[in-house]
């Protein structure tokens, strides 16, 4: 049976077909839909964890207990989970364990474009990389068996263009593996130095077996040599394979479905059959460096960029410098950057912060958009939780006129320990938790503060106030960010006080909130066309002689009315 599946949906399907029983993840573009798709299978216990480290560790626990398990995350999520990941290579697995990680070349929705393949090399794990949705299904399914056979976690490397592209997929049936026996084996699972030392050499032995495997006939399905015109050859993997086939349909291509360890002998044989050999890989020269170290003569980053996303055009023009597509290009087109939605509860906080003129240590989420004009209210964004740690460091450095902002989901992901640090090390930092009741940017996933699980079931609803008080913050204030004046006053008071404080700005995200039954309109007689309202950065507002409000877009938050100096923006109560 054929289905039209995205790479992420195909990964979920492949895992389900392999008999997956437990999956955990934290939402992050472009990996989010893996867990979302898994949550729809009744046989799979699919969970949103507070962060990627917890997700991976929980998956390790399930594998230990004998069930096939998976953790999925975006590339920077593996940084959070790197601690268990690196040692997991030492312990190995009991039941099959797959870690699916999606990179984001071109930074469509990320803070960096690091290359996850480096982790596979560093940890010495088996790594697979599918080049379309069909392979995403097949490789994920195979990964569980290989994980068990070689006693190693398998890293499944995806990129945005695989995760979010759809293709035709032949689907199969589910196998139902028996739960494996738990084996109490301290020398395998207790990574004390004495045992870990032995497990390290054991890992090297397991990795040697993987090196033999990739050269053997058994690995043929993953390593496809397509010999055509021998003047030019390409070594490539993943989405780049499709770009090479598109750009050079006549050329010889060696497609790597296994990207760690590399089958050097196979590649050497292929290299000997072609006159010139290119290695095509997005981001880092991970393949290239290894091939060159093996003495295999390849052309790589001499011609291809080490940044950004590739395409058929990038591949073709890098190899053939004379190539120029016959296309029409329009320049000076106004950009259309993403913006906070009309009615977004974050907007009022930014308007208040801008008026206070404080330095704002930001974080990862929709609210990062507050950095863009016209709000221009955020002054740093490094990684999840960093804002709360940074405001403490800045405070210690004498910078008192500063706050941290962080979302509810992000606070639970990585902000709690940073807040603990503020209390323990006694800075007078002010942290604003913008609680919109969901993980908004990735598509309104629930989290421990929502009282709902990934499967839509009811669960214990964590109280952010109690967590904050629990780590020792005594000053906790809750405000409604639609009330800009109060939000401003409360933050101002907390800034002046010489002790740690948390302001929770609470309003549901417009994606989950009900409409308010009111909108706003402009009293044209009063409007002086000063443009103050436009500076709140709302798509519903525009200037056509006077300010005007698109009533279809207006959510009724009233933040623009707060900033109007002549009270020209007035409420309209809708009848229904």
């Amino acid at each position: 049976m054929k289905r039209f599946l995205s790479g992420n949906e195909a990964v979920a399907r492949g895992a389900w077909e392999a008999g997956l029983k437990y999956a955990s993840s934290y939402p992050g573009t472009p990996s989010t839909e893996i867990l979302q798709s898994l949550a729809r299978f009744p046989e799979v216990q699919a969970e949103w964890a507070p962060n990627e480290k917890v997700a991976l560790e929980s998956a390790i626990g399930a594998s230990f207990a004998g069930l096939r398990a998976m953790a999925s995350m975006k590339h920077v999520g593996l940084n959070v989970a790197a601690d268990p990941f690196m040692t997991l290579a030492y312990t190995g697995v009991n039941a099959g364990l797959v870690v699916a990680v999606a990179d984001d070349p071109g930074l469509y929705s990320s803070q960096n474009e690091q290359d996850t393949r480096r982790y596979a090399v560093a940890a010495r794990v088996l790594a697979l990389e599918p080049s379309d949705s069909q392979e995403a299904l097949a490789f994920t399914k195979d990964a569980f068996f290989l994980s068990e056979r070689f006693d190693i976690p398998v890293l499944l490397r995806l990129v945005t263009r695989i995760s979010h592209s759809k293709g035709v997929v032949e689907i199969g049936d589910r196998v139902e593996p028996m739960q494996k026996e738990e084996v109490r084996d301290p020398a395998k699972w207790v990574m004390l130095p004495a045992y870990a030392k032995i497990r390290h050499t054991n890992l090297l032995e397991r990795f040697k077996k993987l090196k033999d495997f990739v050269e053997s006939k058994e690995a043929d399905a993953f390593l496809v040599e397509d010999l055509q015109d021998t003047k030019v050859g390409f070594i490539t993997s993943g989405i780049c394979y499709q770009y090479v086939k598109e750009a050079f349909p006549e050329a010889s291509v060696f497609k790597l479905g296994i990207i760690n360890p590399l089958p050097f002998e196979r590649i050497r044989r292929f290299a000997s059959k072609v006159d010139v050999l290119y290695v095509v890989e997005e981001l880092d020269p991970v393949l290239e460096e290894q091939l060159k170290a093996q003495g295999i003569d390849v052309i790589g980053k001499e011609v291809f960029p080490e940044y950004g996303e590739f395409s058929p055009d990038v591949v073709r023009s890098c190899v053939d410098k004379s190539y120029k597509p016959k296309a029409v290009y329009f320049t000076d087109i106004p950009t259309r950057p993403p913006t906070l939605c009309p009615g977004c509860p974050h907007r009022g906080v930014f308007v208040a912060l801008r008026k206070l003129g404080v330095t704002v240590f930001g974080d990862i989420g929709c609210y990062t958009l507050g950095a863009l004009p016209p709000l221009s209210s955020i002054h740093s964004c490094v990684c999840m939780g960093a804002g709360v740690s940074m405001v403490h460091g800045a405070n210690k450095a004498g910078h008192k006129k500063s706050v941290a902002i962080i979302g509810d989901s992000t606070f639970l992901h990585s902000g709690v320990t940073s807040l603990m640090n503020i209390v323990y090390n006694r800075s007078s930092s002010t942290v604003i938790i913008m609680d919109n009741g969901t993980t908004a940017m990735t598509g309104k996933q629930p989290h421990p503060g929502t009282g709902v699980t990934a499967k839509g079931e009811k669960t214990v609803k964590l109280s952010i106030e109690e967590v904050v008080r629990g780590v020792g913050v005594e000053r906790v204030r809750v405000v409604d960010p639609y009330n800009v004046k109060e939000t401003y006053e409360v933050i101002k008071e907390e800034l002046e006080i010489d002790e740690p404080s948390v302001v929770i700005t609470r309003r549901p995200c417009t994606l989950i909130a009900e409409r308010l039954g009111k909108t706003y309109t402009v009293d044209k007689d009063k409007c002086i066309a000063c443009g103050a309202c436009l500076k709140v950065g709302c798509m519903a507002l525009s200037m056509n002689g006077n300010a005007s409000i698109d009533e279809l877009l207006c959510f009724g938050c009233g933040v623009c009315a707060h900033v109007c100096p002549v009270d020209a923006i007035v409420e309209v109560v809708n009848e229904n």
Partner: protein, 189 residues
């Protein structure tokens, strides 16, 4: 057969749903099909595009520049942003609707005076008031199906084929209005 379509518009206009219907139809017809798009941060009112490629065998989900045969644009400015994917023989269908981006609203940038005219100098362009037809069909959100209907008139499949694909994508309660919008688009030119 080789059909490459660029569908573009603004977050919330239903770009991704339109490409989903096209993909479902291609599978029904036993063809290979790939589609590619970007989710996440790019969707917060930002520019949205989808590439749909249908052929006996499709490699890249991204269309090479200068080669796409069709464009469906749900917003006038967005046609300019993705024009470089089009071949010189491309047919371009544009919804007569303008949505100012934040950069224009805040006065940083100016909305081009005549995007349709700019496109017409290079391509075969048809402009359609899809918003009006969507309203006529009973739902302003059905602009995407009006535009898909417009495209369908140049593709080889019957209205029934398209309806079957729509049945696979839309929940039953939304089918009637979307089919109606599709038919209005299919017969407008």
């Amino acid at each position: 057969m080789k059909i490459d379509v660029v569908i573009c518009g603004v977050g919330g206009q239903g770009v991704l749903l339109a490409s989903e219907v096209l993909g479902a139809l291609a599978i029904e017809k036993g063809l290979d099909v790939k589609k590619s798009e970007i989710h996440g941060m790019a969707q917060r009112g930002g520019s949205v595009f989808s590439h749909v490629r249908i052929a006996e065998k499709v490699f890249s989900p991204v269309i090479p520049q200068g080669t796409a045969g069709y464009m469906l644009a749900f917003e006038e400015l967005e046609v300019l942003r993705y024009a470089h994917f089009l071949s010189q023989k491309a047919k371009v269908f544009i919804n007569k609707q303008r949505i100012n981006p934040m950069t224009v609203l805040s006065g940083e940038a100016v909305y081009p005076e005549d995007p349709v005219g700019m496109m017409s100098r290079h391509f075969e362009v048809k402009s359609v008031d899809a918003l009006r037809l969507a309203k006529e069909a009973g739902n302003v959100r059905a602009v995407n199906m009006v535009m898909l209907g417009v495209l369908s008139a140049c593709l080889p499949w019957s209205e029934d084929d398209w309806f079957k694909a729509m049945e696979m994508v839309f929940p039953a309660r939304l089918l009637d209005v979307n089919k109606k919008a599709f038919t209005l688009g299919r017969t407008v030119l």
